[in-house]
Amino acid sequence: MTENTKMNEEQIAEAINNAFPDGITSIQVAPRRVFLTISKDILLKLCTTLKNELGFEHVSCVCGVDMKTHFQTVYHISSYSNKVVTEIVVDNISKDKPEVDSIAPLWGGANWHERETYDMYGIIFIGHPRLERLLMAEDFKFFPLRKDFDGGRRVA
């Protein structure tokens, strides 16, 4: 981690802002929270700066959302030193080619979360060390958490 000065959420928000002037669509700040909505392509660069410069050591959660027209992936990354949690929403991932950069190489904690998101939604994480199904059976052909998957009947 860089200098161990404690940065509160405003400083972190500005640091992110001037580091990535274009890719960020919206940014809000709340006590100990930073909410970001970004586009797909700057995700990996943003995560590396978060990890190296801003001292975010822990990925709390990676989850996918099926917005019927497109996919979304939501990252909660928290920092122990600054005691801040950033929520990054990667919006409009196209439905026919759902691909996002994987942040598993940066944080080991995201490994299984991304595998589960792939298992449930079919979002492919590029660069993930071992992207396979985690909870469902290996030969399960559907992605259960998608909105079009009707849970009420028996599937092969």
């Binding site: 100990r32 050591e57 822990h58 990925v59 709390s60 959660c61 989850c63 959302v65 099926d66 939501v74 909660h76 928290s78 122990y80 005691k83 949690v85 929520e87 929403v89 944080w107 080991g108 904690g109 995201a110 490994n111 299984w112 979360h113 589960e116 449930m120 985690l134 909870l135 469902m136 059976a137 259960p144 958490l145 998957f149 849970g151």
Partner: protein, 361 residues
């Protein structure tokens, strides 16, 4: 000797619940480990999307059988953040007290499991005997022994029964006497227990943070971080308590962290009872949640549990993601188990306090 893949299979006496640790053995030493989960997958997140907000509360109790209250609390506070509901004072204090009682019951269940894994059945029965005290307290309060359905969006279901405070303080005093007396002598002072747990399953501080291991397992490796103190929710910012941290990161450190955490929980309960005031315990909340997203994360007895809820204006949640602490700790299990003997795995995975219900959801 050729490498031998041994399945410490889904149905194996050492693991609590259905998960499989495939272990590659070179003689006695573990050279590779690969956890396989999914045997208990109930499709919780898909079921949730067809129920309304109040009907999910009893379902969130059933995520992990030994810490039902903390799970329904994280769900309820996530929905409260979504609806911007302001919970009355007394309800927040009652939540702090019941969560700490639930933490004690969960840690005692863990202590019983560690005992049986390593072969001492007496500690199982002692821990279960103490746990009964706290289950009786919660039965008087909520009406059920383990699946409480006590938390409501905007407060709690009912107020404390009479002399609940007296019983709780008595139970805490007895538990503290027992921890410092019987358990301390039976487990800490027992050399075979120390031989089995010291320097087994060492998890360094960087690994703990990077791999996403949280809670007592992380504090056992020296990371001084506790959501109750560093990101306070409910009334934890008005309570001054000590976060127990151990530096060594082996199974004994994790064991020590949880034993001291039980003592600290007793102090928190005593402190909370001093500061609780009269007042309403539940506020009326709207039936439909606004469009938008919110999340809440709390200090579960096993780590950081987080719920991310997305509302779409109806009374059904559009998406409800559950982050279970043990789901991530199991992904870090190979890092803890490689290099140790096969007979160490129960000691390592025992002190990690597995709960497969919340892992597979």
């Amino acid at each position: 000797m050729t490498e031998m893949w041994v399945n410490m299979g889904p149905q194996h006496p050492f693991n609590h619940g259905l998960w499989n640790l495939r272990v590659k053995l070179d003689g006695e030493k573990v050279t590779d480990a690969e956890p396989v989960i999914g045997y208990l997958h109930r499709g919780w997140e898909k079921m949730v999307e067809s129920r309304d907000y109040q009907q999910i509360i009893p379902m969130s109790d059933r995520l992990c059988y030994c810490s039902a209250l903390t799970w329904s609390h994280v769900y309820v506070s996530a929905v409260e953040n979504l609806m911007e509901v302001e919970v009355p004072e007394r309800a927040q204090w009652i939540r702090v007290i019941t969560i700490e009682i639930q933490r004690l019951a969960s840690h005692l269940m863990w202590l019983a499991a560690v005992g049986t894994d390593l072969g001492s059945y007496t500690i199982f029965l002692y821990a279960m005997r103490e746990r009964e005290l706290f289950l009786d307290l919660l039965t008087n309060l909520t009406g059920a022994r383990m699946t409480y359905n006590y938390m409501r969006i905007g407060g709690v279901r009912n107020d404390l029964p009479e002399n609940f405070e007296r019983d709780t303080l008595r139970a805490c005093d007895l538990l503290e006497k027992r921890i410092k007396g019987e358990y301390y002598q039976l487990m800490d002072q027992n050399t075979p227990f120390r031989m089995r747990t010291i320097d087994t399953g060492v998890l360094s501080k960087e690994d703990a943070m990077n791999l996403g291991v949280t809670g007592p397992n992380m504090r056992g490796s020296g990371v001084d971080f506790d959501l109750r103190r560093d990101d306070p929710y409910e009334k934890y910012d008005e309570i001054d308590f000590e976060v127990c941290v151990e530096k060594e990161g082996d199974s004994f450190a994790r064991y020590r962290v949880r034993m001291r955490e039980m003592l600290v929980s007793c102090d928190i309960i005593r402190d909370a009872f001093k500061k609780i005031k009269e007042g309403p315990v539940r506020v009326k909340t709207p039936r439909n949640a606004p469009v938008g997203t919110a999340f809440a994360h709390v200090e579960d007895p096993r780590g950081e549990s987080l719920m991310y809820v997305m509302g779409d204006g109806t009374n059904h949640p559009y998406r409800l993601k559950v982050r279970s602490p043990i789901f991530v700790t199991v992904s870090a299990a190979p890092k803890m188990c490689i290099g140790y003997k096969m007979a160490d795995i129960p000691a390592i995975m025992g002190t990690v306090d597995m709960c497969v219900g919340e892992t597979d959801r």
